[in-house]
Symmetry: C2
Subunit: 166 residues, 2 copies
């Protein structure tokens, strides 16, 4: 590793296996094992609970109970994703400093905003995160971020051949 | 650096300062100085000489002399780009193995083809290479490659603040 040995590496994590693969690849290939002054920042974007006012016309409203359930579910997903991500870090590089960031919002905006705000040295992400359904609505998160953020962007695709690995 | 210490790193180089910056970033951040078993493959795509048959209607034809001059110019550009890129490698990491690949064709196709053929571990490229005019015709080379190649892709943007650096 060269002169930049106090780097901030932002890794966007989500529920997908591809995101876990991207994190593993980053730990194996980008983070120095010998002399790691790198800080790995794990970022999870919680898509906000959507209260669709369009549904009012049918007389249907989300009750506060339903909203609370959805928020609880979102919180549980975030905790699960972060627990899994931290375990991957521990397994592959026990010395690297790991920080956790969970923010509400569209992943595309959240990732770009956090990358700029924290002045990270590199953004690492899977290419097909955030699930097929969300992606259909949001477009490719990685494409969007690769074009918008100013720092280097590493897009890691999970090989199809070893789908069982993380 | 983790277990993958015999890696093939493909770096797409061209005439742009951004491509030189991407190569430098890669050498400083991705290639291990201490124990480099990495092979850095520098790839330059020479856009083929276009003989526009549409021009025949005006009675104008490229003479063999003009074609020879254009090919000579293309060869000189390739040599200049590779000389500069090898110098950057020598300055930043004298131990890394460097290989040179020059191929004819649309950079988008050439980069994707070489990445697959050589089974590289990562593709590194600037985000705005190949000049503004060519880009207007070709579209973003990095966008295209990031979507098409199967290996991880690192897109490095040159910061505007230190435009004088390489």
């Amino acid at each position: 590793m060269g002169e930049n040995n106090r780097r901030k590496i932002l890794v966007a994590v989500d529920e997908s296996n591809e995101s876990t693969y991207a994190l593993s690849w980053c730990l194996k290939n980008l983070v120095s094992v010998q002399n790691s002054n790198d800080t790995l920042i794990l970022l999870f974007a919680k898509t906000p609970v959507a209260v669709h006012t369009a549904m009012d016309s049918s007389g249907y409203m989300f009750t506060s109970n339903i909203i609370a359930s959805m928020e609880k579910y979102g919180k549980e997903v975030a905790e699960h994703v972060m627990h899994k991500a931290k375990q991957v870090c521990k397994d592959l590089n026990d010395h690297v400093t790991v920080e956790i960031v969970v923010e509400h919002g569209d992943p595309r905006d959240v990732i770009c905003e956090v990358a700029e705000r924290l002045k990270v040295d590199i953004l690492v992400m899977g290419s097909h995160g955030y699930g097929a359904i969300k992606r259909a609505f949001l477009g490719s998160v990685s494409n969007h971020c690769a074009q918008k953020v100013k720092c280097p962007v590493l897009i890691v695709k999970k090989p199809k051949s070893n789908a069982a690995d993380h």
